[in-house]
């Protein structure tokens, strides 16, 4: 780990002022990813600005009937929050599918959004990586790529986004509230994370002088028909090979609204509006789900070791849609697939 200066932010304005004054500084909250990246010399900040004393640590109902989640709310508190359990169980389930209880006690809601990929070439400073060192090349494309992306890749990067929570937030159409030197703005979740394209070193649309203050959930939580299904190499405490968040609204034997997001398959949580439109108005049947899964994966491309993910993702989509339609969401404790 490199030497750095440690300072505390007094309030959000002070945090913005400090980060704007020193672009090589980083905010620290839970530190569960950042400290690790620093130990690996992947991230070498000149200063860490401790934001853990800022008053952005509450879960509050919004006037619109949704929920505002302060950026500093720990993942564990959020997962077990009564309003999350009652109205957004898909988000609670996704949170409990991620990391370990110790890490969830530390990790913040805002920091979860800013996790960096766990691509081992990104972590290994002896290998080329366009995300870590732009222009150096991608070691994963022709390397060991079992964990890597099958959708939305570029010739420069096939890394995946590691978060479970973000897959549910994408399906729920959350918004990210940020504050910068130019004031406050709200970013649609779909626009927050980026595909790699020609600039895989840039993960999000958050600007260098901005801080995440909250995540806002709209009123609709799909609490009756939802699931978060995570498929991984071991049953607990592992990153997803494929994960699926589903929210359905079913009325009169037909799907009235559908939300579907995939994790572990792309540089960002993967949604496909065409698939959701295809599901809308259709009966919740295995034919409907099979067709939707086929459409969702039709542009997928494997890189050798991860070819299996295409079929795994297709089947996982069908299974997750079935779980949601039946009202039998995947348990994160009982590991048998529902």
């Amino acid at each position: 780990m490199n030497n750095f200066i440690y300072s505390r932010a007094r309030d959000v304005a002070d945090a913005v002022r400090q980060i704007a004054a020193e672009p090589t500084a980083r905010f620290i909250a839970g530190g569960t990813n950042l400290i690790d990246l620093m130990k690996e010399n992947v991230t070498r900040p000149s200063r860490l600005i401790d934001i853990t004393h800022l008053p952005i640590d509450k879960v509050e109902e919004t006037a619109q009937g949704g929920l505002r989640i302060g950026a500093l709310v720990p993942n564990s508190d959020l997962a077990y929050h009564p309003l999350i359990e009652a109205h957004y169980p898909m988000l609670g389930s996704a949170l409990l599918a991620g990391a370990s209880p110790q890490l969830r006690n530390m990790a913040s809601a805002g920091g979860n959004l800013l996790q960096r990929t766990r691509c081992f070439y990104f972590y290994d400073t002896t290998t080329p990586c366009n995300k870590r060192t732009p222009g150096s090349g991608c070691s994963a494309i022709d390397g060991i790529n079992r964990m890597h992306a099958i959708l939305g890749t570029s010739e420069h990067c096939i890394a995946t986004h590691p978060s479970d929570m973000c897959v549910a937030l994408a399906a729920l159409e959350a918004r990210v509230l940020v504050t910068g030197t130019g004031g406050e703005r709200s970013i649609a979740f779909a626009d927050f994370h980026r595909l790699p394209g020609d600039t895989p070193e840039i993960d999000t649309t958050l600007q260098p002088d901005e801080i995440i203050t909250a995540i806002e959930l709209p009123p609709k939580g799909f609490a009756a028909n939802y699931t978060y299904l995570k498929i991984r190499d071991r049953l607990s405490y592992a990153f997803a090979l494929v994960s699926v968040a589903v929210g359905l609204e079913i009325a009169g034997g037909m799907i009235k609204e559908a939300r579907l997001a995939l994790g572990g398959v792309a540089h960002k949580p993967w949604r496909d509006r065409d698939v959701e439109a295809q599901l809308t108005g259709a009966p919740p049947s295995s034919e409907t789900f099979g067709r939707a899964a086929g459409t969702m994966l039709q542009g997928a491309r494997g890189f050798g070791h991860n070819d299996f993910k295409i079929e795994l993702a297709r089947r996982s989509v069908v299974r997750a849609l079935t779980q949601a339609a039946r009202g039998t969401p995947q348990s994160q404790s009982d590991k048998r697939t529902a």
Binding site: M1, F4, D36, M38, K39, L48, Q102, N105
Partner: protein, 182 residues
């Protein structure tokens, strides 16, 4: 001609030398005042500067759970925690679980159930189990297994670890291994 003594200092001064920070860690009920470089992890502060070596360094990357301690009663990973960020908070390590010479029930249950082999992960397992019990989210063995998944046991003592935690959590009568089968 020999370099003047100041040359070495000048070279090293090219790198930022951030000031050390005064930190008070309340460890196992005792206030401990330290002056630490900001990059000192809580794990290193405990082991290197407070001689509390019960907390173990396993992977040092937040993947194994050997360094688990309780901060304000919540279990966390001390290897990914900066000590300067825990100024003033209450920290409980494995050394602080026993009360007045009597082992913590989890410590006794780990002995009774033979819930370890090499013992390296054990302090982290026990601190994690103490955190698990405080959280109150485990109601069945499946829950214990899932909610203890952040603690890796390379020897594979998992069945006995779960049994030890069950004993304490569900108030089962302590049984020595083998007795149950008779």
């Amino acid at each position: 001609m020999a370099q003047p003594p100041s040359a070495a200092r000048t070279a090293s001064d090219e790198f930022a030398r951030p000031a050390k920070t005064a930190v008070t860690l309340h460890v196992n009920g005792v206030a401990r005042e330290l002056t630490l470089a900001p990059w000192t992890t809580l794990l290193d502060a405990l082991r290197l500067y407070l001689d509390l070596t019960g907390t173990k360094k396993g992977c040092d990357h937040g993947q194994c759970g050997a360094c688990t301690v309780l901060v304000d009663g919540r279990r966390i990973i001390s290897c990914l925690t900066l000590a300067v960020m825990k100024d003033g908070v209450q920290i409980t390590t494995i050394e602080g679980l026993a009360q007045g010479g009597a082992l913590h029930p989890l410590q006794q249950a780990f002995i009774d159930r033979d819930a370890f082999q090499c013992g390296y992960c054990t302090p982290g397992q026990i601190c994690s189990a103490a955190g698990l019990m405080a959280e109150g989210r485990a109601h069945a063995p499946d829950d214990i297994r899932e909610l203890m998944s952040g603690n890796i046991c390379r020897c594979g003592a998992y069945p006995n670890i779960v049994a030890a935690i069950e004993d304490v959590m569900f108030g089962k009568a302590t049984q020595k291994p083998g007795e149950a089968a008779r």
